[in-house]
């Protein structure tokens, strides 16, 4: 579903954020990207969304080489990849329902279908009672649920999450992880960057560890720290 081949990113000014990264995420997998702050996790996710261009190498998302994608095709890429961020990125002047609906509106989806899909997905994330609230009237955990609902509303095959629990307390984080796990069980491929070892240890999923832009570990059903110590 997501394939990186020898990917490197050098920012303007010469910062090498990612180098020689190759990995392959299969359909339906749940992958944690771990590593200390500054190790290149966010850069990697942004390159998969074409928010940043690769300096070297190739990235395939859902079978397409997105390093060669013309600019006007980028919105289509982003419709096949749901995204969740640490800071929620909700539109402040839209209600919960409008925020979720927006992801469908951009595809030109007819209104009746939008309403139905939005209701279904808000039920899934447990926010049916708060559809008309504005983001500022919600707790952090609720805002993150809205953003997950928006990422999932058009059933993308892939979901990318960058520290989705970074702003939340542990109890709320558990709820968010349950939700991501449920979404993953519907067949959605999930790649999540985090440095929250409690979560990674609890989930026992594939872990790709980055350090200074390089992959230093890639291990199935693992914890935050390497588990094959002898």
């Amino acid at each position: 579903m997501i394939r990186l081949h020898n990917v490197a990113k050098v920012y303007d000014g010469g910062v090498v954020a990612v180098q020689e990264v190759s990995m392959d995420v299969r359909k339906g997998e749940f992958v944690f990207l771990v590593g200390p702050s500054g190790s290149g996790k966010s850069t990697l996710i942004r390159m998969c969304l074409r928010e940043e261009k690769v300096t070297r190498g190739k990235i395939w998302v859902a079978g397409k080489d997105i390093t060669k994608l013309p600019t006007w095709r980028v919105p289509y890429l982003r419709r096949t990849v749901g995204t969740v961020f640490q800071d929620f990125k909700l539109l402040p002047n839209k209600t919960v329902a409008e925020n979720v609906a927006f992801a469908l509106k951009v595809t030109g989806c007819p209104r009746s279908i939008v309403r139905r899909q939005v209701n279904t997905v808000l039920e899934l994330v447990g926010l049916s009672a708060k559809t008309d609230r504005y983001p500022r009237q919600l707790s952090g955990g609720e805002q993150q649920r809205v953003s997950i609902a928006r990422a999932f509303v058009n059933r993308p095959p892939i979901l990318l999450a960058d520290e989705p629990t970074g702003n939340l307390d542990p109890a709320t984080s558990v709820g968010i992880m349950r939700l991501l796990d449920r979404i993953n069980r519907t067949g959605t491929t999930v790649m999540m960057a985090t440095h929250d070892f409690a979560i990674v240890d609890a989930m026992r999923r594939r872990v790709v560890q980055l350090d200074r832009g390089r992959v230093v570990r890639d291990q199935g059903e693992s914890g935050y720290e390497s588990s094959d110590e002898s």
């Binding site: 919105p75 982003r78 539109l91 992801a103 509106k105 595809t107 030109g108």
Partner: protein
Amino acid sequence: MSTLLFLIGEAFVNLRRNALVATGAVLAVFVSLALAFGALVFNELVRVNTLQWQEGDHLIIFLKDEGGPVAHSELLEQINDYPEVKNAWYMDKAGAYQEFLEIYSDQPALAATVTAADLPASIRVELDDISTYQEVQFRLVGHPLLRRLSVFSEGIERLLSLTGVLNSIGIGLVVLMGASAVVLIANTIRMAIYARREEIAIMKLVGAGNWFIRVPFIIEGATVGLLGGGLAAAAVFASHNLLERIPTDILIRFQVDPGFLLSRTILILAFGGLAGFIGSSLGLRRFLRV
């Protein structure tokens, strides 16, 4: 279709959020276009008021119908004998109608309401010295055939010589004011984009295409232009209404044909909308990167 409605809705929500800046832009566009529209109407008034005065005519003596052409030609002979008069000639009703049609050739609505019978015949007089017109006026006072006497005054003379200048000033004003309306709207839209840059980034992240983001801004700009143009048209209509109250029977007429006003209003509205469209497209030009 529902997408377009959604985007129009977005545009109006944004306009409301941005009401202060948008109002400023509407007012500025209004002033620009009102000046431009006013210049158009003023030019038209000058044209209507001066067309009657052909090369060399100093006096127009409008005649009553009584007596018909026979009595009229007697009077013409008398006038030709006045010492101040260099040359006088007769324009019958048919000629007057021809002239009328020429003057109002672009205002068929007005022309259609008038027939040759409605228009008076007249005697056009060229004087040796225009300052002697009062002598002629004096001689004719109380003449049974005299309906009205128009004098080619210095004011008209000056207006006439100014027409060319006025025309180019008018056109210059229209162009300048139009350009400033475009620039104003471009600036407004750029400010709106700046104010909403974070929202735009989020929209792009969830897969909004360029047009999806741009169309509301373009609708916003066009609305500002249309509102400004509408206000300008209303202002010109209002002042024209005031002018119209001034009686016609003095030297200068203050009416222009309703058809003229209507067609120019549509022009101003279209221009306002177009200025908004061009302005917002200019304002959007630099912002395209994903």
